[in-house]
Symmetry: D2
Subunit: 343 residues, 4 copies
């Protein structure tokens, strides 16, 4: 069985990463490659690393161009996905790498995005409890945000096991610049980005905050609140997330380790490292892997979990392809079974 896939937003980083992964997927044939302002151009001039697709021409992102495929990947600015998805047939698998369908709470959506809520789709983070059941056979999938992917992989096992207190989670994360996309903004220039670090969206302003809280709350069965500070690091790819939460009184380091080990025992892409080894984003660049380590700081009663992913792969396009595999009944690892690029 060969799956035909259309990819929209193909001139951006998320769209380019979807294409990179699909181009090596054994069961997928890449159909329409679409863009907005770059329609009409060769893909090779916009994604020069995709040499095998260099001569493909980008077509306009329209329902007509996207329809007629088994799968449609949407890598569009938020707000744009819902409109297109509504016009695609119900039996087409639509995978939205944007934010439109991640949040359950319309209030949270409106507070953080300032527009009407488009609804909630099955959430494409297969390693969460119960996620695979929801994704099997799904025809609409919301790919998690990159920060929420790493944060949920970091802390959900503790919430699910009842070992963590639900208030006062503190998360600080560093992301490579590709997380900010290809937007032509001064602070994203290489001259500015190289050699420096800076925060943004501090104080609860970042839109990924409610998504993290939603994930933790689902796992904990009670509302969880998060202080999240993202920072921009001088690297193109990768997220290093330091997530800390207060443990329930009496929780031991052994209990914590056991909970995380159990949560990821059968997972191919999520790795709790051996004790003493801490994650580096360089372990996972370009791969669908996530690496984790944790420590209990007994002096202060917090568990510190550090997770590393590639924001564009496991954090976006890899998660999308993994979810596609599950939705379509393909092997979960198809097209994703390779290691990160290091050094």
């Amino acid at each position: 069985m060969t799956i035909s896939a259309a990819v929209s937003g193909a001139s951006g980083y998320a769209g380019g990463e979807v294409l990179r992964l699909l181009s090596r997927h054994p069961d997928v044939e890449i159909g329409a490659i679409t863009a907005h302002s770059n329609a009409g151009q060769r893909l090779g001039s916009l994604q020069p690393h995709l040499l095998g697709l260099a001569d493909r021409e980008l077509v306009e992102t329209t329902v007509e161009n996207l329809a007629g495929h088994d799968v449609v990947f949407l890598a569009l600015p938020h707000g744009a996905s819902a409109e297109i998805a509504a016009q695609l047939p119900d039996d087409v698998l639509v995978i939205d790498a944007g934010a439109d369908h991640r949040l359950e709470s319309a209030a949270a959506w409106e507070q953080f995005y300032g527009s009407p809520h488009a609804g909630t789709w099955p959430y494409g983070l297969p390693e969460l409890p119960g996620a695979r059941e929801q994704l099997a056979g799904a025809r609409r999938i919301a790919v998690p945000g990159c920060y929420p992917t790493s944060a949920q992989l970091a802390l959900v096992p503790g919430f699910a096991a009842g070992l963590l207190q639900p208030d006062d989670v503190v998360i600080v994360a560093a992301s490579g610049t590709s997380g900010a996309g290809k937007a032509l903004k001064p602070h994203l220039l290489g001259s500015e980005a190289m050699g420096g670090m800076s925060p943004y969206g501090v104080g609860g302003a970042h839109r990924h905050t409610p998504e993290m809280e939603q994930g933790f709350s689902r796992a904990a069965g009670t509302p969880v609140t998060v202080s999240f500070t993202p920072t921009l690091a001088p690297m193109a790819r990768g997220i290093l997330t330091t997530a800390t939460a207060r443990v329930q009184p009496g929780t031991t380091a052994a209990q914590l380790r056991a909970a995380w080990e159990e949560a990821y025992a059968g997972e191919a892409f999520v790795h709790l490292l051996p004790e003493g080894q801490w994650p580096s984003t360089k372990q996972v660049l370009g791969s669908n892997h996530a690496v984790l380590q944790l420590a209990l700081d007994e002096r202060i009663g917090r568990v510190i979990v550090v997770a590393a992913i590639d924001n564009l792969t496991k954090g976006t396009a890899g998660g999308a392809v993994q979810s596609m595999n599950l939705a379509l009944g393909l092997p979960e690892l198809a097209g994703l079974d390779f290691e990160g690029l290091a050094p």
Copy 2:
């Protein structure tokens, strides 16, 4: 008046930075430049950027070579400073860029460093409450660690003003690789460091933790506990510290801003940025400046303060020279009155 200064540990990054700053100090003449295994070499082969001192020969780090100067800078591995300092005359100003004399608590010292405590010297962070009084006329000064410099600049105003709760401070910081020194360790190779981020010393293990707690506790007048996670960022210099603490009930954003503004109102090197502008390490590279911004996350009751410094300048050698100026009655800004290097 010309001050003669000797610099030990001159082949390392801290020693090199002391020399860079002293070479432009209007009141200082650089005397002996000492090293251990590199004694006998030209400085130009070890610190090739110090072109004006390139032909100076490094001599052995001995009491004989260091004595006879007005000031002696010690940039040595911890444990080595105390022994040398004890043999230098009392009227020589000895400035220890190492850790030996930072901590008051012998117990904390022994727990984190595993060796006998060498005693406590006046603490070279002039912007702390009461620090300038202690430094004026001092002849022994302990230069703060780089992370504690940024962390204390970030949070002390809040503790001093009684606005912060003393438990459960959470600090995550990213440092450039020069903070780890010139040690030849695999993870510090460029191939490993470039393009990646990783944590270390997680879970309360980093030696700068008790130094932060000491500073916060002094300011708060009550014991403060800290969870500190340092990370290694792909840049040569700079520290970005994200420091969060729970505010006392009822604390407003305006109160917080006022406390920090007041604390740094007269300071030449510490800058609370205008609202809306967040610090970047690129603002301060190579300079003695620190830049700060804060936000109150009302949803979770925490203040998030982000501080950026250059770990080698304000975080080490700049703080040392500033403290020297204060101890000797020189203008506090002498030799330090210049801007950071950007882009």
Copy 3:
């Protein structure tokens, strides 16, 4: 048919890259993984990105451990390969990623390496004229150096077509730091490498010079001399080679373009970019691709050819695997048919 492969030197960058590629090769099973001083360790502690092989233990690099495989990859310091290879059975395919068997001229070998010449093996750069014939069925293969790979891909078409003058070739190349290996040398520290560029081996001293001259001379049918200046660039991977040669009088830009187009018309891994698009190393990171572009500078009568490869992939391990495929009659693209990682 499943090929069993042993990889020596597995704790270094070249060995790690061979393992990364073999781990996704459909026809290969990875057998012994060997090292010298790191024997006994988990691979996960040395190559933390190779998550699928993390629990494999490195064994000592001995003939006993390497024998009994269909293919043995040698990623050893020069001088070490010849001794081991001599003790391996003739029907085992031995692929030497080191320098020992690249040069035909014993005199050149001794001048540049200062040791006795170990002999010459078929040269693993399949895109050179006649190379595939030599590699088919070979049981000993010398993998080209990384710089010579890019230089020969850049200029051989012109020499083979008789369009270039044989004297006064000038080549300047920039390499990522992984080209220098994992050696713990001060100038390779991240603090030194990040943010700076420097040359090395200037004035004909670099050992890759005679290898380039050998390749050009074979193609030209007459001795070619080269001035080669390598530089170290602040990136982990990638080589950008700027190769210039004087064209024969009367040579036109169209003739040049035609020669290169023809040379690489059927090649899957070597891409002459569309006119106006210039190579970036970011197009090829982690892939076996090479990208090229050329221009005739009519004012000075030189062709300038710029080539970008990944030094560890096409420049080492990818070339090795591609050559293995050819030697064993596997599809040439097996295990290598994927795109580079960008951004």
Copy 4:
């Protein structure tokens, strides 16, 4: 005597660097700070590292705002300088960091810039033969381009001494991204620039080519032709120039070394390194220094000279301030007498 200085183009990198240098110049008071589209903004929001000038407001770049100062620095797009300079009084020192007044040949100007030639001003590279005489008392100065600064420092001693052949100079240079300015172009994004290298302006197309040829020709007393290939390196600052020329028959390494030593014997900012030490851009970041080394490749009859400068300092703003000092009779080193920032 205090000099009043106006700086135009202050929101760009060149203008920012002029301000950084002037802010520490003992004889200069900074007057008007002007910009075009950013007029009305705080300098602190555009050049956040210039903390001492953060509250200064940018005013419109008009003759009115610039007049009334002793010195006017123009850091404007080419074409804009000539028009403004023509309206400034003759006794105001106008220093043009742009290209408008560098070239003598109107034909070369028109070929490379496509607009009418604005005339030629004294050339602000004081280390060239005879340059200081031209600069003393000058009231119009053209600051050299960044690449031509490094290229001329690299090769002019050889041409002036008659040791180099005038045809077939080959220059390959790597520049940090700040050389391309703050323009919002996709290839200058951090995500694109970090981790990669690429060439541009290949084949004689770069506008700095005729400027190099002009400098070499003046020194040689005969027309010199150059093949110049610039490349973009993953660093914010710095130029590493590899310049090669064929030596006259019989030229020895000792003759070459003597010529360069003599040329720079009395220079404070240009350093021929000790034999065996090669330049790194990290030696000179943020400083007005240039470092050089050379080797004779006897096999091919070329001298290879490698020079490192900071493109924004010695390559632009530092050269401008140094020239200002000479024109106004200030000490040549005033405001520039400090070391580069490393590591």
